[in-house]
Subunit: 335 residues, 2 copies
Amino acid sequence: MKVTIKDIARIAGVSTATVSKVMNRKDEHISQATREKILKIMQEYNYIPNTAARSLVTKKTKTIGLVIPDIRNPFFPELARGAEDKAHEEGYNIMFCNTDDDAEKEEKYVSMLIEKMVDGIIFTASSKRSSGFNYLKNNRVPIILVDRDIDLKGVKGKITVDNCKGAYDGVKHLLQCGYKKVIFLSGPLTSHPSIERLKGYKKALEEFHVPYQEEYIFEGTYQRGWGYEVIKRLLEKEIDFDALFCGNDLIAIEAIKALKQAGIKVPQEVGIVGFDDIYIAPLINPELTTIRQPSYEMGYKAVDMLIKLLEKKGKSQEKVILNTELIIRKSTMQK
Amino acid sequence: MKVTIKDIARIAGVSTATVSKVMNRKDEHISQATREKILKIMQEYNYIPNTAARSLVTKKTKTIGLVIPDIRNPFFPELARGAEDKAHEEGYNIMFCNTDDDAEKEEKYVSMLIEKMVDGIIFTASSKRSSGFNYLKNNRVPIILVDRDIDLKGVKGKITVDNCKGAYDGVKHLLQCGYKKVIFLSGPLTSHPSIERLKGYKKALEEFHVPYQEEYIFEGTYQRGWGYEVIKRLLEKEIDFDALFCGNDLIAIEAIKALKQAGIKVPQEVGIVGFDDIYIAPLINPELTTIRQPSYEMGYKAVDMLIKLLEKKGKSQEKVILNTELIIRKSTMQK
DNA sequence: ATGAAAGCGCTAACAT
DNA sequence: ATGTTAGCGCTTTCAT
């Protein structure tokens, strides 16, 4: 039989209110003797409070929703772990959902989470959304956006990275090395980070008086295989380039593979800069020069921000922009 | 204001019981007219049922706990995604926790999940546990073990892989290629899969009449960096070997890096077989020969098994052993 | 075909 | 310092 607060109260010879007070540490006015007695009995009977009952009255569940495109994209496990670590520190749990950047799934999952009464949501939203969400109409579940800086109802904070600066740093590095013809293997240009990176790319070009050429921009996906395929196509079409600035490290790694197969030397003939600095970046050959994103930190800070909001009842629309960092390794060289 | 079942009932001019029935599709005895009216009003007012209230009475939450060592280990995002996909198919959500294979954290997180009244738990348990869990005393939360085959109270099913056979296949392949001195760079030998793999390693050796040497077994961790370090040490000590069978692909990839730095050629001088077949395995140079584990499928099947158990109220202690597959690529060669 | 009412396990005024 | 009590929003028997 499941033991409830009533059982504990009965056994201890006190009221349920008293038990409730000691278990929630609202027990300044409870005598040490009763407190100890109750605690002891709770232990002894292995009492586990029923969260559903509690949530029903408090309207809090101590759980946070994490809505991301795909946990298999190596950027997100780091973020998820950061989020989970902070959540557990504060006594929260994390529920996670994969949307594949599909607006319909986003809609469905966010509403599922609201039904489950999560206290808040950490959301990496695709930018493709038609407009507002229906499910936000009657709801006040705070949302913290991570990675994507878009406008959405219910958003109470944003954690992003300066994608423009990151890209600028990467392309500038390429140009400083002496590479001249830099192709941008971008992620989907519907997503905010990619758009910002394109800006950074252009800015660096401008600064070095290199004319911007539309034909050097390739809009891709973060699907596996794209980086490899696009290089194959570039090579077939005999497009002339000597450097690649990539939308993420996976694209960069695939590009390196395709280039190697074609007998083209990295970094001697083509310099490559990735984005993210995933754990594998220093392990491949050549070690990948890339723009590091603080992905763990983004998850951690997002949860931190959310919980502060929840517990301080703050209403401020905070916006935090974290720094990227150029990590120079071996896929680029001074020419 | 939040709209509740009472509001809907009042507006529709029916009782809450009727509303409850139609929303739970227990409405065989409800007239089409009322059903439609209620549905329409629910829509119109954007009614979201309160799961806490529902769970309080039904004792079900439609959420599943996922307890894994570390989502950053590339084996787990696949598994997690498989689990999540199946869960969503069936209308469940997933709560996830990272234990770092620490028995204390496992204990804490599992009990948190039970408090939150998850309907069941998918658990990759470390083998280091003292014995039973306290929190299982008064609880009937079914647990499905994945990846690790150990004995634990409350376990209602297991999904594993034939690690012995997997290792056997890998080592046999190495031996067939003509490699003679195969070092096993194992994961922690406290964990069940590693123990099984050691068995498979020995079996293959025996079959090829290669004497087993304790000095060829290196027990490591799945922490980043270990594979690299251990090779450095091997090389310093001038230990003689011509093949590596690795506890996972990450170790293999790091080993390749260390070997390359020492000017040792893979696969010409040293043949390497990994384990898992993570997405990066075919992208590195040389492409990694490895033992594929159906990680996505393991997560998917675990949730499938759990939900079947939950909904059919079955009590069977099922055990499913999935197949591994030897994927031959370029880190091994016929000598 | 529909409704009345009890109760799930807990919290939070408010009393005492 | 402790207890009484009224819900929280829903489901579920049992009536009607």
